[in-house]
């Protein structure tokens, strides 16, 4: 089946992208976002979970001019346009880092570890970056 045929309909699985790394220090945050965007065309049931240092991907006020790298954080706001709306953030990870929802640049659902655990159990395909 070609990518195009796959996109037109048929199988729908629950895809979960788990982000646990901070942005800029490594490429995983940026390249995982690229998978989410491309994957959006396949009309699967997508959830994105941010935990551990992954919560740092969503912090407001990222100014990358000094390090000479592209600031890709505005892309998280575009996810909604791709029908990727289920963004979950770990409560414990935020708290451990002294952050709150107000520090984040996009609307998210804050979940406890137990809730994230249950959410993960519902998924069909889990991609880690």
């Amino acid at each position: 089946m070609s990518d195009e045929e796959m996109m037109e309909g048929g199988v729908q699985k629950k895809f979960c992208y788990v982000n646990r790394t901070a942005p800029y220090g490594t490429v995983y945050a940026l390249e995982s976002l690229e998978v989410v965007l491309i994957g959006a065309a396949f009309e699967q049931d997508v959830s994105v979970i941010f935990m551990d240092d992954g919560v740092f991907q969503l912090t407001k006020g990222q100014d990358t001019a000094g390090i000479g790298m592209k600031n890709f954080s505005p892309t998280y706001r575009a996810l909604e346009m791709y029908d990727v709306e289920k963004l979950y953030v770990s409560k414990e990870s935020l708290e451990a880092r002294g952050l709150s929802e107000d520090d984040l640049l996009v609307d998210v659902e804050v979940k406890t570890a137990a809730e994230i655990r249950d959410l993960m159990e519902e998924q069909d395909v889990i991609l880690t970056f």
Partner: protein
Amino acid sequence: MKFTIQINEGPYTHQASDTAYNFATAALAAGHEIYRVFFYHDGVNNATRLSTPPQDDRNVINRWSDLAAKHNLDLVVCVAAAQRRGIADADEAKRNGKNADNIAPGFRISGLGQLIEGGIQSDRLVVFGD
């Protein structure tokens, strides 16, 4: 079972490619199907033809090429990640104005959609990375 394997790291620096290879051979020996092996992030570096490891050590790249040939595996290298890191086939080299290509036998360059498709079509998707 049908497996899609994702490899996020390059040869030698991380054990990911080795573990994935050992997993893949065990899966094939048990009669399972490997639907696709998808190389992402630095994993694309598993596809360079120009690697010359020491003679007394395993050849990570050739091992994948050989396994692909033996079992007709689909080894896919993500085009965006490959462009960033300088892994190219003849078409990509020409298209991007490069004077050389370096892709190893058995690997092909394609889009991220192939990873998603692998996840949709397979029974299991297993990720090997850092």
